[in-house]
Subunit: 414 residues, 2 copies
Amino acid sequence: MHEELKIKGQLAQEAAYQLGLLTAEEKNNALMAMAEALEKNKEEILKANKLDMEKGEANNLSKAFLDRLLLTDGRIKDMADGLRAIAKLEDPIGHIDESWLGAENIQIGKVRVPLGVVGIIYEARPNVTVDAAGLCLKSGNAAFLRGSSDAFNSNLAICRILAAACEQCGVPQGAVQLIEDTSRDCVNQMLKLNEYLDVLIPRGGAGLIKNVVENSTVPVIQTGVGNCHIYIDDKADLEMAVKITVNGKMQRPGVCNALETLLVHQDLAQEFLPLIAAKLTNVELRVCEKAKAYLPDCRLATEEDYATEFHDLILAVKVVQDIDEAIAHIRKYSTKHSEVIVTNDYAHSRKFTHMVDAACVYVNASSRFSDGFQFGFGAEIGISTQKLHARGPMGLKELTSYKYVILGDGQVRK
Amino acid sequence: MHEELKIKGQLAQEAAYQLGLLTAEEKNNALMAMAEALEKNKEEILKANKLDMEKGEANNLSKAFLDRLLLTDGRIKDMADGLRAIAKLEDPIGHIDESWLGAENIQIGKVRVPLGVVGIIYEARPNVTVDAAGLCLKSGNAAFLRGSSDAFNSNLAICRILAAACEQCGVPQGAVQLIEDTSRDCVNQMLKLNEYLDVLIPRGGAGLIKNVVENSTVPVIQTGVGNCHIYIDDKADLEMAVKITVNGKMQRPGVCNALETLLVHQDLAQEFLPLIAAKLTNVELRVCEKAKAYLPDCRLATEEDYATEFHDLILAVKVVQDIDEAIAHIRKYSTKHSEVIVTNDYAHSRKFTHMVDAACVYVNASSRFSDGFQFGFGAEIGISTQKLHARGPMGLKELTSYKYVILGDGQVRK
C-alpha cells in the first residue's frame, strides 16, 4: 500500500475515534484557535501562495483559474471568519433524533455520531482546505485532504498551521491532514482506501467527479454537477419569470446551481422570448427552431447544448408545448440538481414538484438558493447529486451518521 | 455492456420513475395480489424448488444449506403473509420530514422519495426474493435481483409470479426483475452498473459482502457481518448476565446479531465463569489464560478466535481488568454491529454507550434485538454495518432518499 496514505490513514482513524468523544466546547475552542492561527501566520500563507501563483502563471493557467488560486489579506480573513462561523453552529454530535420503546419495552435512542474519516479530493481553491477542515472538526470527523498540485504550497502551509493550532487545543494529531503526494496514482489508490476512509467527497469539475465515482470502492458522496432548467409555464407572471431567469443565469454563471436551459410554454414564447433576451445582456442564447422565429439572430441549439452544463454566459432555450413536454425534457437532460417552474397555476405547481426528480425542485424562486447557507444550514460541504445518504445542500448534519443506544432491564429475545 | 443487465437496467430505471408516482393504495393492492399469486401458484413454485433441491443434493450441499433452500406449503404461506404485512405498513414516500423558511422566506420542505433502482445480490434463501421485492415495491423502488445459482429455479418461478401479479395491478413492467445469468462475471459487471443502479445491497456470507464492497463502484450498503461482544461488568447482576449471554449465544447462533465473544471483569471471573459455562450447554468455549484457571477443560483462544464471527455454538472468552480493557478489546475486534454491557453501575453504562462505536450499543439487553422487527420497523431489508446512509436495522425508511421542494413568491438571490 502507498506509504503516505497508510501512515496518514492510520493516524486519521485513531484521531477520528478520539474526535468523536470531544465536547462541543473543545471543538469550538480549536476552531477559534485555527482562525486566529490563520491570521497570525498570514505572511507564511501568502508566501506559499505566491509560489503557486508564479508556477500557475508560468504554466499559462487561465485568469479565472489564477483568480480562484489567489489568496489575499481579505481572503485569509474570510477563511478565518468562516471557521469562527462554524464554531457558532450547533454541534450535531450526540443529538438524539428519535427515541422509542421497541420489543419487550427496550428503550431505543437514535444518536448522532461522526462518520469517521472523511476524504476530500478537490481542485484549485485553497479555501476548501480551511472549509473542509473546519466542517469535519465540528462534526467530529478526521479530515483527510487531497488538494490539487496547483495549490500545493498554499494548501500545505494552511494545513500545517491548522494542524498545529488543533494540537495546541488538545485535538488529536491526525485530525486534519493533507496528502502531499500530488500524483494521479496517489488519488487512484486513495479511491481504494476502504480500510481507513469512511467516505470520499470529490469537489471540483466534472472530470474529477467522474473519475472518483467510476473508480472508488470507498463510499462516495457525488457533488456538484448541475444542468439546471427553468420552465416558464403558460400561467406564469412574466415579470417574475424574467427576474428569476436573469438571477439564475447571470448572478454567478460559473456555479452548479446556475441555470443552463430555459423552457418556455409556446403560448408565451412570442411575448416572453424578446423580453428575456433583452435582459440577458451578454448571454449567448442557443435556441430551438420555434424560438428562432422570435430570436432570429440566435444560433440553433444542438442536442449536446441541452446536455451541457455551460458554467458560462450561455443559455439553451426551447419552446415546449405544455408542462408535460417541459417535465419530459427535464427528465431526459437533468442531472437532478435544481429545477424551477414559474407559474401561478396551482395544479401545475403540484404536478411539477411531484413529477420532477431532483435534489431541489423550485416553484417561483431562483435555483441559486440551492446552497447550504441559503437553506439556513450555516455551512456547506457541497451539494449532493446522488440519492444515498444525503441529497442537495449538505451541512454539518450530513457529515454525521448515527448509532442506536438501547437501554434495557435484562430483556432477552423470545 | 452485458446484454441482460443493460436491457433489464433500462426497464428498471423507467419502472422506478413510474413507481415513485404510485399511491400507497396502488402499491398495497399490488402487494396483496402478489401474496395471493404466490399461494395460488404454489405448485409451480414447489416444482421449481424440487429441481433446486435435487441439484443441491447431487452437489452434496450441507443439510443446513439445503434446509435454507427448501420451500414448503408453510414457507410459501409465510412469504405471502410477509407481503401482506408490508402492505399494512405506513408508506414512507411523500412524508415531509421537516419544513422551514430559508433565505428571503423561501419555504423549504424535505420530502421522502424512493432511492430508484435497488440491486440486491443474495445467497440461497428464496424467501429473500419475496422480501426484497415487497420492500422495494412499498418504498417505490425497482427491485433488481440477483440470487444464487443454487436457488435459480425457485427464484425464477417466484419472480415470474410476482412480476405478473404486479403488472395486473398496473405496476410498471420492470418493477421486479431477476437477473438470470448466474455467472460470476455477471455479478462483477453488476457491481459497475452505475448507469442504472442507485444502490447495491449484498445479503449473504462474508465472502459475498467482501467482493461487493471491494469491487463495486455502485453505492453499496454493507450488511450483516457481526462479531458481537458482551461485557459483564464488575457491577453486573449475575443472573441477568447469564440470561442475556445465553440468549445472545444460543437462541440462534447462525445469525449476525448472535454473540461471539464474552468479556468478563476479573473480579467476577471466579464466580461467573463456571456459572455461565454450566448454562452454555453444547457451546464450545475458547478462553484466555486467566479464564482457563476457572475453566480448565476449555481450549485456549487464539488471536484469530477473537476476530472470528463463528456463526456457530462457539464462544471466545476473555477476562478483563476493567471496563476500559473491555472497551479497548471491543474497539480492536468489533465489526461495529452490536455490543452489549451488563452492569448496574450508572457511570459505566454511560461510558460504554458513549465510547463504543457500533450500530447498536446495549445496556442490559440481548444483542438479538438488533433486528428491524424487534425495533418496531415492521420489516427489515438487512442490518447495515457501515456509517453512510443507514446504520443498523434497515426498514422501509432506509430504502428512501429525499428531495427538497422549495416554494417561493418570486424570490431571487441577492
